[in-house]
């Protein structure tokens, strides 16, 4: 339903009212913006020595600052990429397991899924770290810093469970005729799952999976609070401690995150629209699944 249905095509009176409302709203926003601007100005937050290292290429620190930020962004992207690959792999196994196991095998699996779904990601990340220290495990043979793996494993624990649920919903949303046809032509249940159900489930779940990537990308920044791994936000925080301009650096960091995630959200919307036109014969597959749709995840 488009919102325009909520009210009539405006007549002269309604147009006047809406104009007055617009003017009041615009004036209110302008006043708020101006007050914010005044405050920033008074506090000297527009001073060139706070902004130039970020914006002015001729500033002596410009190159170094952006090299550092690029390193941070790279670290964020690497962690997110590793986490999504691991989560997809483990999540698929868990999701298929939940669908195909008998009742006895399913109980511990479901319990585990529900348990890890209820844990805050920052707790799982820190828990991996605590676990490693407790057992004095040596993970230095893994490529990259140790911090990367605390983050990746912590993210994987949470997200593989979420992806398992997304996939399960995807398989369940398929018409039952799909599995029945597979069994009828003599495929085993496992072959039916792998050759018929999973490929379709992946396709219908593509938008939700992309949205989950946005969530993972955002969650990489959690580790900045723990200080275990220098990704984009922590890198920005370190830079701002040197340059003494937290507002300006955080503004840039936020902008980078928003641009990337907005791009991904648009991609999810695009995929959803494309899939919905291609699967016109079997509508309402994606909308039947919670979490599908563009960037719903927190």
């Amino acid at each position: 339903m488009s919102t325009a249905v909520l009210y009539d095509e405006p007549g002269p009176k309604a147009r006047r009212r809406s104009l007055i409302g617009t003017v009041v709203a615009v004036v209110a926003f302008a006043v708020i913006l101006y007050l914010g601007y005044r405050r920033l100005e008074e506090r000297g937050q527009f001073d060139s020595d706070l902004w130039y290292p970020l914006l002015n290429p001729t500033d002596p620190q410009f190159r170094l600052v952006w090299e550092r930020l690029a390193e941070g962004l790279m670290a964020t992207l690497v962690a997110a990429a590793l986490a999504i690959v691991f989560s997809l792999t483990i999540g698929t196994v868990l999701g298929v397991g939940r669908l195909m196991l008998g009742r006895l095998g399913r109980i511990p699996l479901v319990a585990g899924i529900e348990l890890f779904r209820g844990l805050p990601v920052i707790v799982t990340i820190f828990y991996v770290y605590a676990l490693k220290n407790h057992f004095k495990a040596d993970i230095s043979w893994l490529p990259g810093e140790d911090g990367l793996w605390y983050l990746v494993l912590g993210l994987t624990i949470y997200n593989s469970v979420i992806i398992a649920e997304i996939l399960r919903a995807g398989v369940n949303s398929l018409p039952s005729g799909q599995a029945e046809a597979g069994l009828a032509i003599g495929l085993t249940p496992r072959q039916t799952m792998v050759a018929i159900q999973l490929p379709q489930a992946f396709r219908t779940m593509l938008p939700a999976l992309i949205s989950q990537l946005v969530v993972i990308l955002k969650d990489t920044s959690l580790v900045a609070v723990l200080g275990l791994y220098t990704e984009l936000l922590r890198r920005g925080n370190l830079i701002s401690q040197v340059l003494d301009n937290p507002l300006q650096v955080l503004f840039v960091v936020a902008l980078i995150f928003i641009l990337i995630n907005y791009g991904l959200s648009r991609l999810a919307t695009f995929a959803e629209r494309r899939l919905s036109t291609r699967t016109a014969g079997a509508p309402a597959t994606t909308s039947a699944v919670p979490g599908a749709g563009a960037a719903t995840g927190l």
């Binding site: 339903m1 919102t3 249905v5 909520l6 009210y7 009539d8 405006p10 809406s18 409302g21 617009t22 709203a25 615009v26 926003f29 405050r39 920033l40 506090r43 937050q45 529900e114 348990l115 779904r117 209820g118 844990l119 805050p120 990601v121 920052i122 707790v123 820190f126 828990y127 770290y129 605590a130 676990l131 220290n133 407790h134 946005v214 990308l217 955002k218 969650d219 920044s221 959690l222 900045a224 609070v225 723990l226 936000l233 925080n237 701002s240 937290p246 507002l247 955080l250 936020a254 995150f257 928003i258 995630n261 907005y262 959200s265 919670p290 979490g291 960037a295 719903t296 995840g297 927190l298």
Partner: protein, 216 residues
């Protein structure tokens, strides 16, 4: 697990403080999110743009960045309040965008004919929204709204980890760094504490979902 048994009273007080963060966050984000949702469907274009910009910007920005902006950015503007208030405000601001979208998805799920019928019998925009659309929309936005709130409960751990002090995470920190307990059992206790918030909330949501489910 002695670290947990010996300090149960400490964990209990931490649990209550964490629960407090969750409840303040829930109250604040529901109010703010509903307001933004009203903006997003309002007849006034400027308000709609504001709502859209709010949701797009905040939804794509990590909560951690919002939190850092509050805690490190606002003091630069001479705004100094406690970390608790900074943390809860960041949580409310961030969650409001998701609450708005959950409510809006509910409004969008109400069939076109409902609004048309309301307008046909001469109800105003306010009446249409308040007496016809929202009562139906709130029912169907309850499941997504519930997931948003549960996710917010989990996100509140970040506020604790940031250093509010006295909450579950703060207790864990205090026991490991000041009193030298091993981090593994202590944070197992912390994890159980958070599960005591999220699991009952999820169960409650599932029950309520079944109760309000309507066939369309």
């Amino acid at each position: 697990m002695d670290a947990v048994y010996d300090n149960l009273d400490l964990f209990w007080s931490g649990f209550l403080r964490s629960l407090g963060i969750c409840l303040w966050g829930m109250a604040g984000s529901l109010v703010l999110g509903t307001l933004i949702a009203a903006f997003r469907v309002s007849p006034i274009p400027a308000l709609r743009w504001f709502g859209t910009a709010w949701v797009t910007l905040i939804r794509n920005c990590p909560l951690t960045v919002v939190l850092f902006m509050f805690a490190f950015g606002l003091p630069e503007l001479g705004i100094n309040v406690s970390y608790y208030l900074f943390g809860v405000s960041a949580l409310v601001l961030y969650t409001s965008a998701f609450v708005c979208e959950a409510i809006r998805s509910g409004i969008n799920s109400v069939q076109l004919g409902q609004a048309e019928a309301a307008r046909a019998i001469g109800l105003t925009f306010g009446q249409t929204l308040g007496q016809v659309i929202l009562p139906q929309a709130l029912r169907s936005s309850l499941p997504p709204l519930g997931s948003v709130i549960i996710a917010m409960f989990k996100n509140s751990a970040l506020v604790g980890a940031f250093g509010v002090g006295g909450d579950l995470w703060g207790v864990g920190n205090q026991l490991t760094s000041a009193q030298g307990y091993d981090a593994l059992p202590v944070f197992t206790g912390v994890a159980i504490g958070y599960l005591c918030i999220t699991l009952p909330a999820a169960a409650l949501l599932a029950t309520v979902e079944r109760k309000v489910a309507i066939a369309r």
